[in-house]
């Protein structure tokens, strides 16, 4: 009796294994685009001196929101990937009543900082938010359950929740990119889908050189060369998230 049960378990185990291994898989392979851009740590530098008025910023926000089908909803249910705000709000940990006038009136681009130590990734229960090889903080919308822990964890307010179906609020749907649906969180992706095809992020492309993007680990990259010559700040660095968006003031 004992021996035959053992035999049965062995055969059952082996056949499950054989079935799993041989399960109809085509003899196919996957690869990346050869023209894809690679980096150890993607980072962005925004030359804020070149953005004084909301009018300077609108075309860039629109370029981003258009390719990614980001809906325009007014009020507290707003969805934003990249937006603008004042110095006081952007750098809330550095209140300074004696700012020069042009800095006080200046607007600053805000977006996901793609932190090295992202708090959102740590709290996401289904693992829908994760870090990619290039240091981007990505969302797998297929896994998002809409719990909004990541929104509570993000110190930069970079994430928006879809309280309702976003489709009616997308002016012109880009048929090459998905929308999102009610009940998922979304944010800037540093244009992962464009980098992988060899294109710069949409905001960088639309900025006439005022927004720079490159590998922070490569001393010859544009971001490193610009940061070496100019004073820059990051948002709330004291929290230890190591944000990847630098602001030249």
């Amino acid at each position: 009796m004992k021996a035959s049960r053992r035999y049965f378990l062995k055969v059952a185990g082996l056949s499950t294994f054989a079935m799993a291994a041989g399960a109809a898989k085509a003899d196919a392979a996957y690869e990346g685009y050869s023209e894809g851009l690679k980096a150890k740590r993607w980072a962005m530098v925004i030359d804020t001196r070149r953005f004084q008025k909301p009018e300077d910023m609108l075309p860039i926000i629109e370029a981003c929101h258009k390719v990614h089908n980001v809906p325009s909803i007014k009020g507290p249910k707003e969805i934003k990937w990249i937006w603008d705000d004042t110095f006081e709000h952007a750098f809330a940990n550095d209140p300074n009543p004696m700012l020069p006038e042009d800095v006080e009136e200046r607007r600053f681009f805000l977006l996901c900082n793609h932190c090295t130590n992202p708090s959102c990734v740590r709290v996401c229960p289904p693992g829908a938010t994760y870090k990619t090889e290039g240091g981007l903080v990505a969302i797998d919308y297929h896994r998002c359950v809409g719990c909004r822990f990541c929104m509570a964890a993000c110190p930069y307010g970079s994430r928006s929740f879809n309280f309702k179906d976003p489709r009616p609020f997308v002016k012109e749907i880009n048929p090459a990119y998905p929308t999102r649906m009610r009940g998922v969180v979304e944010k800037c992706t540093f244009c992962a889908e464009r980098l992988e095809k060899g294109l710069m992020p949409a905001c960088v492309e639309a900025s006439n050189g005022a927004i720079m993007f490159g590998d922070l680990n490569d001393p010859n990259s544009i971001v490193r060369r610009v940061l070496a010559k100019n004073f820059s700040m990051r948002r709330k660095p004291d929290l230890g998230t190591d944000p990847g968006v630098y602001y030249i003031i």
């Binding site: 085509a26 392979a29 297929h142 749907i173 880009n174 048929p175 990119y177 992988e196």
Partner: protein
């Protein structure tokens, strides 16, 4: 047997009713395959005009759901956005830009077969349907 004249016919009737679905299936008309609208026009992928599906037809019909899930995970989690098919042709691992570029008539293709099989993939809540549907 105690009360055999009731128990045996009762058992026979029970077995007959219990297996009824199999009998109706065996004696009813032959199962009919759904008529699908197949893509006619060639579409350009990687600089090459193509009409044939990614893998052979039977394989696609049986495995497209698993292939799409694999495409999704490779693209999003491993940054691999090119699928090299068994015949060596390359494809972008994209639902909207690959499958639907050929299968533009979603209603008469994907939906028709899915309705017949009572499956309703939720992909279209986010992924944009091709214009061929309108």
């Amino acid at each position: 047997m105690y009360n055999a004249k009731f128990v045996i016919p009762g058992a026979i009737i029970f077995v007959g009713l219990f297996t009824a679905p199999f009998w109706t299936n065996v004696f009813s008309a032959k199962h009919e395959a759904v008529k699908l609208e197949l893509p006619q026009k060639p579409v350009t992928f990687f600089g090459e005009e193509r009409t044939q599906c990614i893998e052979p037809r039977e394989w696609m019909a049986a495995n497209h759901m698993e292939m799409l899930i694999e495409w999704r995970d490779k693209a999003l989690r491993e940054n691999k956005r090119i699928y090299v098919a068994t015949d060596g042709r390359k494809w972008e691992t994209s639902l909207q830009n690959t499958c639907m570029a050929c299968h533009t008539n979603k209603a008469e293709f994907c939906d028709k077969c899915h309705t017949a099989n009572s499956v309703s993939p939720y992909c279209w809540d986010c992924h944009v349907e091709p214009q061929g549907n309108k």
